[in-house]
């Protein structure tokens, strides 16, 4: 199950590693907006070229990204087939009962697949080049304006940071529970989907109990060390917007504008 955890942080000194996390997150939001606006062949070309540049500048192993896309191929196939066969069109290529194969449906299917694939690659690069703590400080900086509507920004950032740090621990825990269930005769590898699904259910209660035990221990440890909420806590290091970060935001904003115009 550890292998499924895509986008694990890989320390490095690439251009993307050196962009400050808040700028990287803001650029990521701009890229998502650009992907949503893409609907022409030129737009697709620009988006692919931009994604290739991002991957090259990240200096991270391309195999991992290819694997994450390859793992999604059945899902992409289902999306494409569903759109091709069920998209309502006035000019169907072939029609039978409620099934309508159309050119518009196929284009729509390709559109959706393309958008999801680009977002998976870009989000993979983002998490591979940004540490968990970096992501959290980035989120904290970006959601700071919410303070004006009384959202406890520091508290939210602390919760998200703890949540991300809990993920590997809980995956390990679930792996142990899974092995214990296999020893008791659970059939996780059964060919029947219903049997496989039913085998997952006895894992839920022990996983919740052990997770809450860990939560109880952590909260007790934090309180005993004098933690009384994130308010007023000083950050480890203050981020300053450097030239590289500004350039990344400008590049992503330009791409977004280009996709809107064409």
């Amino acid at each position: 199950m550890m292998r499924q955890m895509a986008g694990r942080y890989i320390p490095g000194d690439s251009v993307l590693h050196n962009i400050i996390p808040s700028a990287k997150l803001f650029s990521f939001i701009l890229i998502i907006a650009a992907v949503i606006f893409t609907n022409t062949v030129v737009g697709y070309g620009a988006m692919v070229a931009f994604t290739v540049c991002v991957v090259l500048y990240s200096n991270t192993p391309i195999e991992g990204l290819i694997k994450s896309i390859a793992g999604m191929l059945p899902f992409f196939a289902v999306i494409f087939v569903m759109n091709s066969l069920f998209y309502s069109s006035d000019n169907p290529i072939w029609k039978f009962w409620f099934i309508t194969l159309s050119k518009e449906g196929m284009i729509q299917g390709l559109n959706v697949v393309f958008r999801i694939a680009i977002i998976i690659i870009i989000s993979g690069v983002l998490t591979q080049t940004t540490s968990t703590m970096g992501l959290m400080s980035g989120i904290e900086t970006l959601i700071k304006p919410l303070k004006y509507i009384r959202v406890p920004v520091e508290e939210v950032a602390m919760i998200l940071s703890v949540a991300l740090q809990f993920i590997p621990t809980l995956i390990e825990e679930s792996d142990k529970i899974k092995k214990a269930q296999i020893a008791r005769g659970a059939r996780f590898e059964s060919e029947k989907l219903s049997e496989r699904a039913m085998a997952m259910l006895p894992m839920i209660v022990p996983l919740f109990l052990s997770s809450f035990k860990r939560a109880d221990e952590l909260s007790m440890a934090m309180e005993s060390r004098g933690y009384r909420g994130a308010k007023g806590r000083t950050p480890k290091a203050r981020e300053s917007l450097d030239r590289l970060s500004v350039m990344s935001i400008i590049a992503c904003a330009a791409l977004c504008a280009l996709e809107v115009i064409i």
Binding site: A6, L160, A163, A197, V205, F212, M222, G229
Partner: protein, 187 residues
């Protein structure tokens, strides 16, 4: 449950957000398991019921967003709709636990759970019909997606959530809703 400190509530909320990522991982290999078994709903309900509406709301937003960013599931196209549904679940479950006091923990949990499930599904259907799939969404699609397809998930939620919460109370990992000493004292 009122005895819990804000630090403990924050950490439980963080664990529930992490579980929103971990529990659906078990089901990724099974076709269409997400919409049948609704594995991500369980931690959000738990968070709302145990920690309150504000934490439930945060879990409903952050859980699917983090899972989508790290695994691509749910896909970005379904994310806004799913976030809306889960936000309502967390929010309503928390509010109902604050409002309903029948002196029976199981009854409080079931009432809160039923109201949250019904309102969450109705809200998700309305938002889908009015915003995300405007013009192409029908009542039949809502019944098929949110009632028929997901009935095993709803059944799992009814069986597991109150039982897990009661087990957590018995294990003293969360405070009891109606501590025995307090009731005896009143009598």
């Amino acid at each position: 449950m009122s005895e819990m400190t804000s630090v403990k509530k924050s950490i439980i909320c963080a664990v529930c957000i992490a579980l929103c990522y971990v529990i659906p991982l078990f089901f990724h290999g099974i076709q269409n398991a997400g919409s049948i078994f609704c594995p991500m709903h369980i931690p959000v309900f738990m968070c709302g019921l145990i920690c309150g509406w504000s934490y439930g709301l945060l879990c409903g937003i952050a859980g699917p967003v983090i899972s989508s960013a790290l695994t691509g599931m749910p896909p970005i196209a379904y994310l806004p709709n799913m976030v809306t549904e889960l936000v309502i679940y967390g929010l309503v479950a928390g509010l109902m636990m604050k409002l309903v006091h029948t002196k029976n923990t199981y009854l409080d949990l079931y009432i809160s759970l039923v109201v949250a499930i019904v309102l969450g599904r109705i809200a998700a259907g309305i938002v889908r019909a009015l915003i995300f799939t405007q013009g192409t969404y029908s009542m039949a699609m809502w019944v098929s997606g949110y009632v028929i397809t997901s009935w095993p998930g709803t059944l799992i939620q009814f069986i597991f959530i109150p039982s897990i919460i009661m087990a957590l109370m018995k294990g003293r990992l969360i405070p009891e809703r109606y501590p025995k000493l307090q009731i005896e004292g009143r009598n």
